[in-house]
Amino acid sequence: MAADFQSLRAISGMVNTILGIITLLLAYRTKNNSWSELLAAKLLGCFLLFHGILMTTAYIAGFFTVGSFSHSFFGSLVNIAHTISIGMACSSCLFFPYPFVQRKHAEQAIAVVVLTWSFIVTGLIIFIPYEAHVVRYGFWFFPTVVWGFVYVRFSVKELVHKHEHARGLSAASGLLILATMAWLFSDWLLWITVMEKFTIPSWVSGIPPDKNPMLFFVRQSLIMGVSVAALLTMFVLEGWRVARHGFSVLSGIVFGFFFIGIISFIVDLSVVDVLEDCIYATCQELPESWTIYNTFTNILTAFLIQPIVLMYLMLNFNLLDVKTEKNGRYAKAMVLVLVVIVSSTIVEMLQSIIPIGELLTSAFLAIGIAAAIGWEHQIMDQFLKNKNKTVDYLKSIGEIKSVEPASDTTPTLSFSLIVLFAFALLLSVLHGAIGLG
């Protein structure tokens, strides 16, 4: 299964990159959407693209890196892509689903912020790698908190104050939380009960002896605390909503993760003895069955489920205009390619643990592809079922200002994207050649 894990990383890199490129293409061809939604689509597209570069590079690095990973070309590219993708995710939460920033020069401001963030953090990673890595990753807490508050506010608007269209905002923010932090959800019950049984032998033991562990503890508590609080809150509010309005995609996924978390807790308890050996004796390898379970929950979620949820969100919440014929073709290609990649990956993963012949799985795969092509319209319709216009609702409650975004001034997001690409490549080449830091 270790080999499958690496292959999954490569597949995830491909999925994220394809999604990112098509999202950016569609976003730059979209003319009629609100400026904040369009900017969010571009930011999320950039997030997917750099996340894809991160995953792909991390996979390729396994074959070519000789010596220290952090001082190699690929190691540097992984670091920079990771920094940029976090910057993009943090920026997007300011514009979608609730536009906290409604200014004429919002795009220019965010382009400058992302550039500055990328330059500073990348520089810090060269000189103080441990501290910079820990703090950088801690920024994931920011979008989760923002989307969490948006989710709560508009869920209450819908459920208590009968604002039917508020659902668009709560569903979008809930899906965004899932699209970025869902990999932590499959062990939520462990995190809030006996997490130390898992973290001391695995995480704490990995902190270098000359580094301060408190920085890591604070960062990890923030990320895990806000993620688990978001899941539990969504479980309660979605449960309330299901009783009134029936199931939705969001409630289905939230309930799924809630119950997976309970099962994972039992599964994780079964390996506590093995983990304790790392403290009191010598570390043993975790059982193969646990590794397989973990691959099918945490890793599958992080690598494949999250980008699919993000794609669903962008198509379903009007971030991209797919009504025109040409844009529609791109969207269909994106959906079909991803559905086929993900289904074939899951079939192959099942094959690696269930002793069934390759001919049989090939047949299943062919059936899946045929179904994807045959039901292309239905799949697309499902993705485009509810064209939620979050901006229309916000206008109706008077929380959208009339802003005409400035388009004639630089730097724009496109400009910063080009600069970031050039910066990432140049710094990585320098890193690989002379080993900065």
């Binding site: 809030i192 704490v204 604070v218 990890q220 605390g225 929380e399």
Partner: protein, 236 residues
């Protein structure tokens, strides 16, 4: 103009978001849940069982000492002049307490001149060797003495190193815990099997013609198996 409208006009959208009267209480409860869950996670991660953090992050200095036990397997053989015999000794851990491994094997070959002549009958000549077989031991170790001989009735002492690098002397090492500190000394299998010892006798005759000569010799072979158990003591 309401408070919210004023905030919107000022362009402070964050303020508009949090000033909503209808949802302010719910967001307050969410903020509280957020803080409680984060605090619980922080407690589990950073405070609970924190004494173990240093255990897993830092290596301690340990003094390793060895408790030894020995067991002796003996055989006595009567060999004629020019005679030779291969003796097999079955070695296992049954005579040692639990947790012991075999460190080394000493073989002591002893004999004395049994002919009671008036003038000294000279000592017979005895050669002894530990035969290299597939017995699991360190056959090429520099400290081994695999063969020896005597013609003066002195004991012949042979040594075979069984456990790699075992000397029985105390030393110090860095390790995360006591189990890791002794992990070099818990390998199974060393020294369990059949040890083969070869003994040859050449009888020396008396120089006094009227004396009775013997034409054989009794040789005693003692195989002293040294078992050990490693103990780790943490140094402050």
């Amino acid at each position: 103009m309401s408070e919210e409208d004023e905030a919107l006009k000022e362009g402070n959208q964050v303020s508009v978001f949090f000033r909503d009267q209808e949802t302010r209480a719910a967001m307050g409860i969410y903020a509280l849940v957020l803080m409680l869950v984060t605090a619980k996670v922080f407690y589990s991660l950073a405070l609970k069982d924190s004494y173990l953090h240093d255990e897993v992050r830092f290596e301690d200095n340990w003094r390793l000492s060895f408790t030894e036990e020995t067991t002796i397997l003996s055989e006595t053989v009567l060999l004629p002049d020019g005679g030779e015999e291969d003796l097999e000794f079955a070695i296992d851990l049954s005579s040692f307490p639990d947790g012991y491994r075999i460190g080394l094997v000493n073989v002591k070959v002893s004999y004395s001149e049994t002919n009671q002549a008036i003038l000294d009958d000279p000592c017979d000549s005895v050669q002894a060797s530990i035969t290299q077989t597939n017995y699991p031991a360190q056959w090429t170790d520099q400290n081994n003495t695999l063969n020896g001989g005597s013609s003066s009735c002195e004991d012949i002492d042979l040594v075979l190193q069984v456990y790699p690098d075992y000397s029985g002397e105390d030393y110090e090492r860095m390790a995360h815990n006591a189990v890791i500190a002794v992990d070099e000394w818990v390998e199974d299998g060393h020294g369990i099997g059949e040890l083969s010892v070869n003994v040859k006798v050449d009888v020396q005759r008396s120089q006094v013609p009227t004396q009775d000569d013997d034409d054989d010799e009794t040789v005693q072979i003692d195989v002293i198996v040294v078992g050990f158990k490693a103990n780790a003591e943490k140094l402050e």
